[in-house]
Symmetry: C2
């Protein structure tokens, strides 16, 4: 039994028959009192029905429940999809005795197939009955698709002599790139924070976490991060200092979840940080880090544990940002393999290969052009990525 540790929240996850393989596929987060809400959503112009619904609903700044299904994305489903997303919220609201507009909705799974709403309707009372202070494990299972592991992170902060808790749960392992977020991430906190401040800290934390990871360069149509703050800890985040504290913990929760998503990237065997340093601007650094992190040639070399730095420098060269190849240094966990755009010799290759055999490491590309930096977390690209994605719908 996992505990969320956040006062006043209950969660549940059950099987309702949407997933072909019969796994958990319907989850619910419920706050005992109306909570402040903030959200970040996909930038893909093709947005799923639940994303369109939530974008409207969070404008009120209040939410008390989130209903989530996996196995069907309810995307490219037209008016029927919008009606079913609304219906999902409505049946949840009725079962919980809440106004429908305080319920948010999320879906993940295959795009373009009608959502079997009757399976959700028929199981909603059972889901509500299952709500539990220790239900976060079941909830976490219910939002997974190709994920292999649950992703759950809790942090506790202290202010005004009291403790507050932030608990985040995420799903996602493919269709992920820095344009936005994992597919789904839900955060609960018992801190007391206004909607505007919550949204601001969420944007800040997202920029430093989910917008800095990539698995395969694709952006999902359903990406959603929702944060609910229900005030039950009695800690009011009402000063700049306390906001910074809250933001630090929130960023920490989201970054840890984001890294868990990359570690669990489809077929991934390694978590690799691509750091670009001494760039002319943070944007330039980010663009280069992204291009390297998304290069299939780099990612397959990582899988092969091959110190093929030529692919890294070639990716940097096509990032669309001015660089001077003859100034570039590259380090693997601090071991310098490239100096001034040229290899440092075969001798070092054994040391670097030892780094590449590790599960997690950092590759640093030093442009020697300025003082800005950025980093992106990526994974390697294995046979299993192909297997998972060639077979996904079958």
């Amino acid at each position: 039994m996992e505990k969320s540790g956040c006062r006043g929240f209950k969660t549940a996850g059950i099987q309702c028959g949407i997933k072909k393989n019969g796994g958990h596929d319907l989850g619910l987060i419920y706050s005992e009192v109306p909570a402040t809400v903030a959200g970040v959503f996909t930038r893909n112009l093709v947005a799923a029905a639940p994303v369109k619904l939530d974008r409207e609903r969070i404008k009120n700044g209040v939410c008390q429940a989130i209903i989530v299904n996996s196995g069907n994305a309810n995307c490219c489903t037209g008016d029927d999809g919008m009606k079913k997303a609304e219906k999902m919220a409505q049946v949840t609201a009725e079962a919980l005795g809440l106004p429908a507009e305080t319920v948010c909705v999320a879906s993940t799974g295959v795009i373009g197939q009608p959502l079997p709403i009757e399976k959700i309707e028929g199981n909603i009372s059972r889901l509500v009955s299952a709500l539990n202070e220790d239900g976060i494990g079941d909830f976490s299972k219910a939002i997974l698709t190709t994920d292999l592991v649950m992703k759950l992170v809790t942090r506790t902060g202290h202010a005004d002599g009291k403790a507050f808790t932030i608990t985040g749960v995420a799903k996602g392992s493919g269709m992920i790139r820095p344009d936005m977020a994992t597919m789904l991430c839900f955060v609960m906190t018992d801190a007391d924070i206004d909607a505007d401040r919550l949204q601001k800290t969420l944007l800040h934390a997202t920029e430093r976490s989910f917008n800095r990871i990539t698995v395969d360069g694709d952006t999902s149509t359903n990406d959603t991060i929702l944060v609910l703050a229900n005030k039950q800890a009695g800690v009011r985040i009402d000063t700049a200092e306390k906001e910074t504290l809250f933001q630090t913990h929130l960023t920490d929760v989201l970054l840890e979840l984001a890294k868990m998503v990359v570690r669990d990237g489809e077929g991934a065997t390694k978590l690799v940080e691509i750091g670009v340093v001494n760039a002319q601007s943070a944007e330039a650094a980010h663009e280069i880090a992204n291009t390297i992190a998304n290069s299939n040639l780099v990612k397959t070399a990582l899988f092969g544990e091959d110190a093929n730095w030529g692919r890294i420098i070639a990716a940097a060269g096509r990032a669309g940002v001015p660089i001077d190849p003859d100034r570039i240094d590259i380090r693997f966990n601090g071991i310098q393999m490239v100096k001034g755009g040229m290899g440092c010799g075969q001798a070092l290759e054994n040391q670097v290969t030892a780094v590449l055999k590790q599960k997690e490491f950092r590759i640093e590309v030093d442009l020697n052009m300025g003082a800005s930096e950025a980093s992106v977390f990526t994974c390697d690209f294995s046979y299993d990525y192909v297997k998972i994605n060639a077979d996904y719908r079958s």
Copy 2:
């Protein structure tokens, strides 16, 4: 024995010991008289030494020989690399009795390792002795790396009552995206055409061929297309009409070679044309076609012969170009599977799956927003792509 069919050209290819596996790795193209030259090169800011050399050399508009090695890209090799590229040209010029500045150079293979120039020097006289009117097959073999097949295309045009021939040979199967070209492509023609006109027609033909293919989204540091025109057919391309004729044939040769490159894409089992029609501009259509053609999720679904159109529409939505998802139609070889952003039903899926089982087909994304279009050729993404690229240097 393959014949190039172009009067006044001789070619050769031999083994000189650069490739670890002992295959052909040194090739030579020689024109009996000084030829007009045009060239197109990688846009990657990290450019190999031979690319830097050729960029300068073609400014004179005259070239009589091209020396090419595979197995080593002579890239990220600093001053030493530049000196060795010059040396490659110089020893070739000496062996052929030509001015050094009329020899161009190309290299392909691993980045960042010193070019074993002594192997080229030691074998240059043997290479020159092997020059032959029927040597194009050996030359073609000598420029391959992970390629599985030779890529050779010949077209004959007629003007002024005489025939002229254009023969192209290419290599490339990975590190290819529309930013530029295959890794290496050499074209011989016996037509008589000025350098400016040759460069103009080459740019036009490249835009419609090598800049419309992708294998893995990576741009090589060594991409090179060189065209030599040696006037031996006695057909002077000196009118707009004859220029159009020449350009049509040149485009045809390059497009056929480009498609051969994609068919031979690393691990590829299919050649798929992604057509985007009724866009607001050709640029927008191209951007969307590129994004779909480079999506790993689309490419793995193609490998799995899975009619997962949701991934196609999701890729279109993240291309950074305004679209209206609710207007999108998608057709597979003319069979409409998506109308107004929604699936046309399970019944059609069998027909579409039959299309997906073919070796070559067209996916058309109709934006219903304008009158412009573009298309990009891509391949599927298989286990073997990962295998080839994880093991490449070992």
